[in-house]
Symmetry: C2
């Protein structure tokens, strides 16, 4: 099973967002999981999943539909963007690997370039050079700036497709691990505590490698807002324990936490295994998994 | 989905156990999950699951096959028993209720009585009177004693089938919640500590209602051996936290734990939700569940 979470540069016209979702749902085997739109960002995120071939086909059809319906010369919004389908990441679910997702990203990227004439940049695990791994480098100058640079600056030549941009702009295609958006609320209104904890736990400032974190105030409560970018190497239980430990140093406690969007089941099962000390538990001791595997 | 975990009075003749398993597997929709045999007890346990109709049919076919192949007049073993199919419990899995399992137990019990001429006693949630809820009451005197009493003692009249026993004996049919066999090892060889903790946590001596517990020494380590009989009302995380708290009073720690057999996925997800403080998490935020529900 593969998951795909494309971001589109349309967050206001509901009929356009629905039409892109329909392009996904029309592909047999592809299952639409979620659609969310942000009017300020003028951007929407569609989540779908299924077997590799179905997801690859649905991704291509969604990009095609978005290119027909979104004109980047008319687009504005707060979020940086370069194309109608701005980012197209493929994510391995249970039974799939990151390498498979890299292969899918490259195949779909090539098809978008060849058949739709849209310039494609490969990013994260699918990147063709280190400086293209991170999104901000690829989005530099956004749609308007890239349109000027793409034909003249060799460093900005696309991986697939023509070195010129039409109204659909460019699409950034890649592969990454599932991302978990996990926020922890503290029993304090002191946002400074949340900021210090965020600094302690995030990888960029010396904390846990797989964690991005910010401290903020949400509805009067201090919140450590995090993205866990690789739960298999930096598991969620290690994160919540570290936050709780740091909070205690300021006399604060974890009040509750929340997920924004979806979480892979394995991330929760790993946490249960850790806290219940089930160090030797086999996956096929979980009744429903055995039932699924044998029926 | 319904689970069924019948116990058969044969733990030595592998061909007989395999033939009973085959009777289950031959029913479309019924999935065989596990078979385990104990030669000392001369007893085996077969676990299968599926939609209600398939499980009811497979249970009946297993009882019929066991009645053909097992002669209780020739049976001996350490475990108390009254019939070839000794106990036949139906258990609700996700999406099913205990009430549905009671209805299935009564329907299958009636069929066993009517079509196979085997006396049937209903137990646990399916029991027709309070004193029949617990297995030991129903097994009093075992096969040999019940064969004498069944025709003469009105208190021992079966719920279905004739008030006389043939070579297949009697079968005890019922409905219960999933049972989790969960053992916790302490970092001590002092079995007295395990015994005191077991006494503190088990319901019968004042502890948690849904817990049966014994303290024992296993390979040089003190073990609290438990059955959790209703994980939805007495969740596994409350049990391990209480064991850890009691152990600390003796200067001991939980070293690891183990499951004997299978565990429902929900029991692990409830633990993750508790420890990660995801108090508001919806089930459909779990990616694989949403995928299953929508595809």
């Amino acid at each position: 099973m593969i998951e795909c979470i494309p971001n589109f540069s349309e967050g206001r016209r509901e009929d356009v967002i629905a039409a892109i979702g329909a392009a996904v749902a029309e592909v047999p085997g592809a299952t639409l999981l979620d659609t969310s739109a942000d009017a300020d960002h003028n951007r929407s995120v569609i989540t779908f999943a299924g077997p590799a071939e179905a997801v690859a086909e649905a991704a291509f059809q969604a990009v095609r539909r978005a290119a027909e319906l979104i004109d980047m010369t008319q687009h504005s919004g707060q979020h940086p963007r370069v194309g109608a389908t701005d980012v197209l990441p493929f994510v391995p679910l249970r039974g799939a690997t990151l390498e498979q997702c890299v292969a899918i990203a490259r195949a779909v990227g090539q098809r978008i370039g060849d058949e739709l004439g849209i310039p494609v940049y490969l990013y994260e695990a699918a990147a063709t050079r280190p400086e293209r791994a991170a999104l901000p480098n690829l989005r530099r100058g956004e749609y308007e700036g890239l349109r000027e640079a793409i034909g003249s600056d060799p460093a900005r030549a696309p991986d697939f497709g023509p070195a010129r941009m039409g109204t659909a702009g460019a699409t950034i295609v890649g592969a990454r691990q599932p991302l978990i958006a996990y926020n922890i609320y503290l029993n304090t209104a002191d946002v400074e505590v949340a900021k210090r904890i965020a600094k302690a736990v995030r990888g960029s400032s010396g904390g846990l490698r797989g964690v991005r974190a910010l401290g903020m105030l949400v509805e009067g409560r201090a919140q450590v807002s995090m993205n866990l970018i690789d739960f298999r190497t930096t598991p969620i239980h290690r994160v919540v324990e570290m936050v709780a430990r740091e909070a205690a140093a300021y006399g604060a406690l974890v009040a509750e936490s929340e997920l924004v969007g979806l979480i892979p089941e394995d991330a929760l099962l790993d946490a249960a295994r850790f806290y219940l000390r089930l160090h030797g538990m086999a996956d096929d001791q979980i009744l429903e998994r055995r039932l699924r595997d044998r029926s």
